[in-house]
Amino acid sequence: MKPADIMNKPWWPSSKLLRGESVIATIGLALAAILLAVMGGTAYWTLKVHRSTLEDNRTEQIESVGSVLAETIASLMSANELSVARKLLADSARSFDLERCRVLLADGQVVANADASRVTTSVLPDSWEGSEVAESQVQTDDGFLSLSYPLVISGRGNARLEIAASIKSELSHFADAQAGVGIIGAVALIALLFVYRHMRSRFGTLGMIREALLTYMAEDADPSTLVIKGTKRAEAEAWNAFVQENARLKKQVLSRHIEEFIQSPAKEDSKLDIAVDEMWHGLILVDNQCKITYVNGAAAAYLSKPIKEILGYSFAEIAGDPKLGQALNEVISTSGGNRVAVELDTRDDGAGAVLRFTMRPLRRGDKGAAVIIIEDVTQQRVADESRSAFVTQVTHELRAPLTNIRLCAETVIDDNESDPQTREQCLNVINQEAMRLERVVNDMLSVAEIEAGSIELKRDEVKIEALFEEMKIDYAAQADAKNTSMEFNLPPKLPSLQGDREKLALALHNLLSNAIKYTTDGGAITINVDVEDNKIVMDFIDNGIGISDEDLKRIFERFSRAKDPRVAKITGSGLGLSLAREIIRLHGGDIKVQSQLDKGSTFSVSLPVQSKAA
């Protein structure tokens, strides 16, 4: 590492752990904790033993002093040397830091005391009462040692020497030891920090490698996540080189494997066979007996049989529909060279297809061999049918309001209607039908935009409660006309959405309009709005005619209308739900439906509060 690199490295403690350093940090913290625990334990034990030793020594010292003092004072008092005995007592108390040091006669008089003010008799009596000779006594209480020695004063009587002193060691006595332990601890911690720093520098990369491997294994992630970034240490660079080399080798092996895989098929096929197999259209050749002599891959797929089960068989038998066999016979038996096209519709419940079989003689004017081209025109047919249905529905949707508008306008203008109530009714009808026309045209334009992929959302703040207020007013008359109740359950406060107000209004209008349309007279519609997991959830619940399971599968497809005969009597373009779902999805939400025939339907819309409107 260059000196400049060392200078640039952050000094401990680092404000932020890099990837992989958590392992080193964990080890460092564990070591520091163990070190502190060992040092603390050692210091505690040492101080405890030292203190115990000091207390033992002090006890031994006081007992020795007491024994010598008892013997000496008994001799001095026997020799009537009371003043000398008193001085010895005072000196001893001072020298050996005795708390209490006194001589009591058997009758309780204090004849000598380290504290002279507590002496109760100034002279030693010739005799005194009480002749009991007590045993020597030793008593220890909370670090306080009390000793009592019997004295026999010759010719006078018995007495007792009492000594008491503290044997407790003050904590201040251990200050030096504590300071020493503290210094050693601090030095050890500093040493540990240096060791940690060194370990962090040396082993941090290993921690990063470990975490990269764990991430790779746990998240099933891209191998590029194994690359270590943010450090230029030799281990990291070596690891990155290893990962890159491994990825390169894997890609190489995969490419080779796939190349072999792609190049392996049908090497014996001629170029013409390969070219014909690449055709999207099916191609079949038949001889003059209508037996199949050639078939390409697409034709085999359209006929849902393997090639070997087609070659050599009669076309009529393979095709499975008599009109195809008849058409082929016609082509083969006539010399007109006319092309014959037959469409076969095998659609059933989403499966199957519409196949167009175009047949013509192999050479114009010849009888005999023929070529059959098969095209899948299912999607075109579905689109044609949908457009046809759409035109029919839209024509009806446009004609009905236009007729109403024309009739009302004629009533007002031509008949010179003077009754204000009738005029108002006519104008209301014209207004409502104009609004209905506007909605149909808007639906058509929106569908055209979605079809062309050119729909754009204008982002703005949308207040859902305001939208529902408008809807409540807009649909009140329609609901009243069907004697249907509408209940709006909104929370007191709803967050605003970011989205296209007009498009969202269109989607919600379609849902409410459908609920009213497909609910029988006297029904009930409930709209529940709530906020869950940062999403606004809106349930449109009706007790109308419901949707069958079969129709539910296609309910959101464009131009789709339920097969229920009751639905056929109700005007609708089959675009509303498809449009509503597209708009909701463009806002990052979704729409789901639950329904039971004759019991009603629930359409649930969820929109994220932070909408990802495109």
């Binding site: 995969l254 796939i258 792609i262 690449e278 697409a298 499966a351 297809a353 999607q379 949908s386 992929g453």
Partner: protein, 111 residues
Amino acid sequence: MEIEEHNYGAVAVIKPIGALTVADADSLKAQMLDVRTKSLGRIVLDVTAVPFVDSRGLEVLVEVAREMTRTGQTLKLAGLTEVLDEVLKLTGLNSSFEYFEDVNAAVRSFL
């Protein structure tokens, strides 16, 4: 990995959600081949929700594409993510498929 299936008219759209790895690749292949047989090849693979593909996932896509090529069809991929695009380019497999910006564009290609 979750696999959704929708019909857009006569076209079947398969939408895998999640990483396409060895764990799910074979079930996706089985479902795609089944749908492809039923729909006679009118199938689109919507890969907008596939963040990552491993080698087995790539193999499965190539196997299905190869099956379809034998019958003159092409596997149509819609909504390719950047990661998948890069993987297909790096492995040289990008020519095995047809690409479309979104599902609608892919479905329209059958018209």
